[in-house]
Symmetry: C2
DNA sequence: CGCGACGTTGATTTGCCTCAACGATTGTGG
DNA sequence: CCACAATCGTTGAGGCAAATCAACGTCGCG
């Protein structure tokens, strides 16, 4: 299957596997297709899967006490998504994980991941590396949120990730960047005026 | 040395080492003592070390374009600190890493860490686990910053980490929580009034 | 065609910042 | 051991970035 091939290539960029190891790895994977707006994780239920996005776009978000949605992570092809705290500690989720558009995922379930790590310790290295990169990403985002204004965060986002705003409705982008939909809307219009 | 013993115990909680592996590990470590206000990392220089805090308290912070300090991470004994992006990619730092009080650190330099990973692959597992936890922590902090008010973040912080506010001056706490010193000060006083 | 999802716009409000001045505490050199 | 200067916290006045509220336009889809 092409979905499995793609993630095999992804893994091969970081560690070298024997054909047997590749086969074993493939055997623990599972492909899932989700429709736009469908949720694969909900608060209160333990999150079973770490999801590699083959195609599509997903997001994880929290519904606050005030009823507002706050997007924790926006993720597109060749990236990952899950309720991270729920997945690694196997505790009830606090987030929704939802398809922003029709998507195809490759899923790792938690128990198989543990078995895989025992059987093929090279995967420790694989997960170390991708976790380090994800952490470095979150460090950068944290700094942006602490030190930049709403407008600067928006500008930074569209220049760093020009593909995402094309796929994602603005109310989601706004909730990811930590501002209201209305404010993002006025920012975008001021922007057009300033540029001309 | 007791500093080395402590980190050996820390490691032993996650992986089992042979005596030879323990000795090799100890040989790549280095103990550093830093005085309050001393910086061990500065913008523009590549960050050489990952630091385990034996005793003391450290922080990493960014000086924004406006000249304001934004504390990325506050860390005390038995935790870690570094300019993460600088360390793992070995690129020039953007942060200061400073001692909040006199501290004793156990330092891993980047090159030795790579050699250690080759020589003793079990450490892949060790770093995977601590990186996962750190990432989970950042996910939670991200959500707090997106969904909570300044007052709620302060309340959460003092109940979760009651030890830290005792060690850390308020202007640092404020810059960690993403608010001004003055505002944190008024929050604390309103709080006293409301409780009585 | 009609409804729901999404984006926009303007008026008003507010959480938090900035600025400025003033105590309190700490530490340091003479 | 004291005097003086930093460093740190507090308080209040005023201001601004961004939220909220409300109403309306538009598009896509069942």
């Amino acid at each position: 299957m092409e979905e499995i091939d793609k993630i095999q290539n992804y893994v091969a960029r970081h560690i070298e596997l024997t054909p047997e190891e590749r086969d074993y790895f493939a055997s623990v994977l599972r492909v899932a297709k989700v429709k736009k707006k469908q949720c694969i994780v909900q608060p209160g239920f333990v999150c079973r899967y770490r999801n590699y996005i083959y195609t599509g776009a997903m997001r994880s978000y929290l519904v606050g006490n005030d009823g507002q949605e706050h997007t924790e992570l926006l993720s597109i092809d060749d990236w990952w998504i899950t309720d991270y705290n729920s997945y690694i500690y196997q505790q009830p989720a606090t987030l929704f994980v939802e398809a922003v558009e029709d998507s195809v995922l490759v899923q790792f379930d938690h128990q198989s991941e543990q078995l895989l790590l025992k059987a093929v310790p090279k995967f420790e290295r694989f997960f170390r590396i991708i976790t380090e990169r994800s952490l470095a990403f979150f460090h950068r985002r944290m700094l942006s949120n602490l030190s930049m204004t709403a407008e600067e965060r928006y500008e930074e986002f569209v220049t760093k990730y020009p593909l995402i705003p094309q796929k994602v409705p603005q109310y989601i982008l706004a909730s990811y960047l930590g501002m209201s939909t209305e404010y993002l809307s006025t920012l975008r219009n001021n922007r057009v005026i300033n540029k001309s």
